[in-house]
């Protein structure tokens, strides 16, 4: 099968003016030719197949938006090759636009003062959607999320959730081959988030649309994406299955321990004392376990370990020798904590 998106060694550099301080500096800046080159995207290579749903992650300022803008043809890469649906997006921006849809959680493409259906009709003309496709999609949306209740409501009277829902529907209206979503669930409540996730998942499955999902909400990623790509400081640092992620970055686990049956009654100081003691024993016994970390949460002592460095049973035994463990449980590390580790530079 032909790739939907093919990026080979893409670079994007921005020229930034070196700003000076103070009023004198600001005046200097007016005439300054003192530029600095910023590498926003540095040698990114990836292939995305039709129908895939890819989570595109990275900390703020990592170069995610820049990559998306290059895929949509808004920005031209400084070097490297990019093909979307077999076309070079920045050379055929208008033609490329016909095949893509865009959703920005923080912006709306709907006409603010008009009922949604009017925005849809304008989009129908803009994308030259046939009457039949248009009608079919409206009926499909209605069956999917009961959208017809919203069709005649002006966008400005909608809640953020309803507006986001309509924005997503609008992006799929012309049956694009690929849809880019930038934080579609931002600012939404829990139930709306899960509704949006379900909708996006269904659209991906039933319409076979390729979706590139940029988000900071790991709930979105866990619920929707099989594959994730992580970018940091313009460089791609991970591109694989989400399952793979956890083992790839080490076998992280959290052991939660209580020494007292009545830990609830213990005051914070005692618990802190116990936690510090435990950390001391462990550090002494396993000096090579660099990722080991002890913390406290809700009367539990939490020990984060990497099983490549130290085995879980050894840790438990070490503690058990010194003090009786009253209660214990084990947690697999969540995607969120792995990602946080990566962003903070703990792993890689």
């Amino acid at each position: 099968m032909e790739q939907m998106i093919k990026m080979t060694d893409i670079n994007k550099e921005f020229k930034i003016l070196n700003r000076h301080e103070g009023i004198k500096g600001s005046i200097q800046d007016l005439f300054s030719r003192d530029y600095q080159i910023l590498k926003a995207v540095d040698g990114v290579t990836m292939d995305i197949m039709p129908g895939e749903m890819v989570g595109y992650l990275g900390p703020n300022g990592a170069g995610k938006s820049t990559t998306i803008k290059m895929m949509t043809g808004v920005l031209e890469p400084t070097s490297g090759e990019i093909f979307v649906n077999g076309r070079v997006p920045y050379e055929n921006r208008t033609r490329n636009a016909q095949d893509i849809g865009v959703v920005f959680g923080q912006r709306s493409q709907l006409w603010w003062a008009l009922p949604v259906i009017e925005s849809f009709r304008i989009l129908k003309e803009i994308y030259q959607i046939s009457d039949r496709d248009f009608k079919e999609n409206l009926e499909y949306y209605d069956a999917l999320v009961g959208a017809s209740e919203l069709y005649h409501k002006p966008v400005r009277q909608m809640s953020l959730g309803q507006r986001t829902l309509c924005d997503i529907l609008a992006a799929f209206l012309h049956n694009p081959g690929i849809v880019f979503m930038d934080e579609p669930t931002i600012g939404l409540d829990v139930s709306m988030k899960s509704k949006i996730r379900e909708l996006v998942g269904t659209l991906n499955k039933e319409k076979g649309t390729t979706i590139i999902l940029t988000t900071h909400d790991m709930g979105d990623v866990d619920a929707l994406c099989k594959r994730i790509v992580i970018i940091d400081k313009g460089r791609m640092i991970y591109d694989n299955d989400i399952e793979h992620l956890r083992s790839f970055f080490g076998a992280y686990r959290t052991i939660r321990i209580q020494f007292d049956r009545h830990a609830q009654a213990l005051d914070g100081e005692v618990l802190k004392q116990q936690a510090m003691e435990a950390e001391e024993w462990l550090r002494l016994k396993f000096p090579n376990a660099k990722s080991l970390a002890v913390s406290m949460e809700d009367n539990w002592i939490q020990i984060l370990i990497n099983e490549d460095e130290v085995h879980m049973m050894n840790v438990v035994n070490c503690i058990q020798e010194k003090r009786q463990i009253a209660d214990m449980n084990l947690q697999e590390i969540s995607t969120e904590s792995v990602i946080r580790k990566i962003y903070e530079g703990g792993i890689v």
Binding site: E76, V102, L114, I126
Partner: protein
């Protein structure tokens, strides 16, 4: 079929304009205040002059001209500079660049709704009032037809200038100063605030080789000057058409160059 896209956008913008009733009424009120001010200002100017006519225009001529200029300003000013700046600063422009449309005509048609509404709620009533108050100083005939053509050309020239100035925001990153400068230059050099007849001879010569006078002076001249012959109409429209083509070319070129170097803010 391309045109149909923009007709849909125009339709949407008219509906959107109509949904902001309060804003429309405020504009009419604002227009009235402005008219009262210029009435007293020019009355003082004419009262202090020994002759009835100043620079070949009497008080009535001047008032007709300025009242209609104000009414025209009301429907021609579509805040295009402000909108481009806003789209740029908020990053909203990405949404337009990822659509199979061109931004320049898209923005024109999405603002034109306001033009159409203002034409009917401010310009038409003002014109009718002026027509009856001045008891037939305005002669109606073929000039009405040429006026409509001229106004359409004027909207085009005005839009291209606005669009050009709006694109400058890509470089200055801010709209306000640029817009103020444009407003001052255009309203002075187009004859919107002071009739061109009042300009010194040499200054007027300069103004007549610039595009701005085709926006306000020409349509109003066509409407109010009953001595114009068919050839005069054609010359005026020809000059307007010339500037429309020139400004369209320049603004499109500038836009294309700017978009290539675009770095969209935010995100």
């Amino acid at each position: 079929m391309r045109g149909k896209r923009y007709i849909a956008v125009l339709r949407g913008s008219i509906m959107e304009g109509l949904s902001f009733r309060a804003s429309t009424f405020l504009r009419i009120a604002g227009n009235l205040v402005y008219l009262i001010i210029i009435y007293f200002l020019w009355k003082a100017i004419f009262d202090s002059s020994p002759a009835d006519t100043v620079n070949g225009m009497n008080f009535y001529d001047t008032m007709i001209y300025l009242v209609l200029a104000a009414a025209m300003f009301n429907f021609m000013d579509t805040f295009v500079v402000y909108h481009i700046g806003d789209d740029y600063q908020t990053g909203q422009i990405v949404l337009y660049l990822t659509k199979p449309i061109e931004y320049q005509p898209f923005l024109l048609f999405s603002r034109l709704g306001n033009c159409v509404i203002s034409f009917f709620v401010t310009f038409m009533p003002t014109f009718i009032i002026v027509y009856f108050v001045t008891k037939g100083s305005i002669v109606l005939g073929a000039n009405l037809f040429f006026f409509v053509v001229s106004i359409l050309l004027a909207i085009g020239v005005n839009y291209c200038i606005d669009f050009f100035v709006g694109t400058i925001c890509f470089y200055t990153q801010s709209v306000w100063g640029v817009n103020i400068m444009k407003e001052v230059v255009v309203s002075l050099l187009s004859g919107a605030t002071i009739p061109l007849a009042f300009f010194p001879e040499t200054f007027r010569k300069i103004v007549e080789v610039l595009p701005f006078w085709t926006i306000y002076h020409m349509p109003l001249h066509i409407l109010t000057d009953e001595t114009m012959q068919l050839s005069d109409y054609m010359t005026s429209l020809g000059i307007q058409l010339f500037w429309l083509i020139v400004m369209l070319g320049i603004s499109r070129l500038f836009w294309r160059v700017s978009v290539r170097g675009l770095t969209v803010n935010g995100g």
